[in-house]
């Protein structure tokens, strides 16, 4: 993993020097990760494709400002992708007063629709991941925040749970992931 990360760092450095071949390799390395995240968050292929293009344009423009102190290349690129996806989701929510994309605005308002959409996406998760070992309640708040771009307050409203409970579950989930992944901070 460290070697992979070092290669990615070198590709970003070369891209910063206008090396398009390096940037192409960087795209090949991370585009499927970004695209799958975009599909999961935005749920519409055309939006996901637009997001992918925007993310890598930003990576191209800002490659020179990247440093390993800002995190691994993957975390940096995914953070850009999530940030842009959340912007789009919030714009869509403002427009449709709903947090899922649908052709039927009335259906979008339905909590059942929301829950089924979340459930459908959950089914796509690889079950050999650390996520599968999280208690359902913890995994749910984590996914609503990470993939649906909901704030802690929105999640509390959506699940009809006290805000404190949502926060506790989020933090417990992150702590548990740390232990499982062996990334506990010193």
């Amino acid at each position: 993993m460290a070697a992979d990360s070092n290669i990615a760092v070198q590709l970003i450095q070369r891209a910063a020097a206008q090396d398009r071949e390096a940037f192409s390799q960087l795209y090949d390395r991370f585009s499927s990760l970004v695209f799958s995240l975009a599909m999961r968050m935005l749920r519409a292929q055309s939006d996901a494709e637009d997001l992918l293009q925007e993310v890598f344009m930003q990576v191209w423009r800002q490659a020179g400002s990247y440093s390993q102190e800002r995190g691994s290349p993957e975390a940096w690129i995914i953070n850009i992708a999530r940030s842009r996806a959340i912007d789009k989701l919030r714009a869509i929510r403002r427009r449709d007063k709903s947090f899922i994309l649908t052709d039927d605005p009335a259906a979008a308002e339905s909590p059942d629709n929301v829950e089924s959409a979340v459930g459908e996406s959950e089914a796509k998760l690889a079950m050999n991941s650390a996520l599968a070992n999280l208690p359902e309640a913890q995994r749910r708040v984590l996914e609503l925040a990470f993939f649906s771009g909901l704030s802690q307050t929105e999640i509390a409203e959506r699940l009809a749970e006290p805000l404190g409970t949502v926060k506790t579950r989020m933090r417990a989930a992150i702590q548990r992931l740390r232990v499982m992944l062996g990334t506990q901070a010193a």
Binding site: A16, A17, Q18, R20, S24, Y27, S31, S32, L33, F35, S36, L37, M39, R40, A48, E49, L52, Q53, F56, M57, W60, R61, Q62, A63, G64, S65, R70, G71, S72, E74, A75, I78, N79, S83, I86, K124, L125, A126, S129, A130, L131, L142, E143, A145, F146, F147, G149, S151, Q152, T153, E154, I155, K167, M170, R171, I174, L177, L181, T183, A185
Partner: protein, 244 residues
């Protein structure tokens, strides 16, 4: 101190997840903007941990057309990465027209004092160029007010949370005081985003790397505050984006 950081650590994890909102979010962003290296590292580490979430998704290969469009856009827009812009210095700037060019020239002329103790100048230049290249970046004029009506400034702001403030004719802050920079969203409390310092000529600047506000920022202001006061403005306003 340890207890205080326990609180911030808890907030930082939810922040890294992107779910910290409301006053808690604003307070944590102000804490980060004040330069807490512990929390910054903790947020970074938490984001790495959260990588497991997107990795859990089944990878989907994007259509090849997206890559084609991306490289077409790069070629068409002649977008130059930051490092390349640095090495070529002025030349690419000449290709930028209108207000953008004027803006960059203004920055080059005026951009001398931007946190040089902490950041290489070229890094700040590059960051400002990036801000200007983004079509959604807004450019606000700042007007002197209160005790400093002669002061002027500009505030470049991108709703992603990145911005840059320039000030002229703003006297150096008195001993024990500082110039605090605030962003104010509609019906929201002012949010501290950094401290600007000025030199003997009254010139100064600050590059701001905060986080996205829940609501669009409506007003930008600078106030004279006691050193260390980042919770809420208490002193006189010296620069503001709206004329009274």
């Amino acid at each position: 101190m340890a207890r205080e950081h326990e609180h911030w650590t808890e907030q930082g994890e939810i922040f890294a997840l992107g779910a910290l909102d409301g006053r808690e979010g604003e307070d944590f962003e102000a804490h980060l903007a004040a330069g807490c290296a512990i929390c910054e590292a903790h947020v970074r580490e938490t984001r790495e941990t959260l990588s497991v979430l997107h990795r859990a998704l089944k990878p989907i290969n994007p259509p090849g057309a997206v890559k084609t469009r991306l490289f077409d856009q790069i070629a068409k827009d002649n977008v130059v990465p930051i490092a390349a812009a640095r090495t070529k210095q002025i030349a690419p700037w000449r290709k930028i027209t209108g207000a953008l060019a004027a803006g960059i020239v203004g920055i080059v002329i005026g951009g001398t004092y931007y946190r040089l103790h902490y950041e290489p100048r070229h890094t700040v230049y590059s960051a400002v160029i990036n801000l200007l290249l983004d079509p959604v970046t807004r450019d606000h004029t700042l007007f002197g007010t209160g005790p400093t009506t002669q002061a002027k400034g500009r505030f470049l702001w991108n709703e992603s949370g990145e911005g840059h403030i320039f000030a002229t004719n703003l006297p150096t802050a008195p001993e024990g005081k500082m110039y605090a920079v605030w962003t104010i969203a509609h019906n929201s409390a002012p949010r501290y985003v950094g401290t600007i310092t000025t030199d003997a000529n009254g010139q100064g600047g600050l590059h701001i790397n905060s986080t996205r506000s829940e609501k669009p920022i409506e007003t930008f202001a600078v106030t004279l505050e006691p050193q260390g006061n980042t919770a809420a403005p208490s002193g006189p306003m010296v620069l503001v984006s709206k004329q009274s």
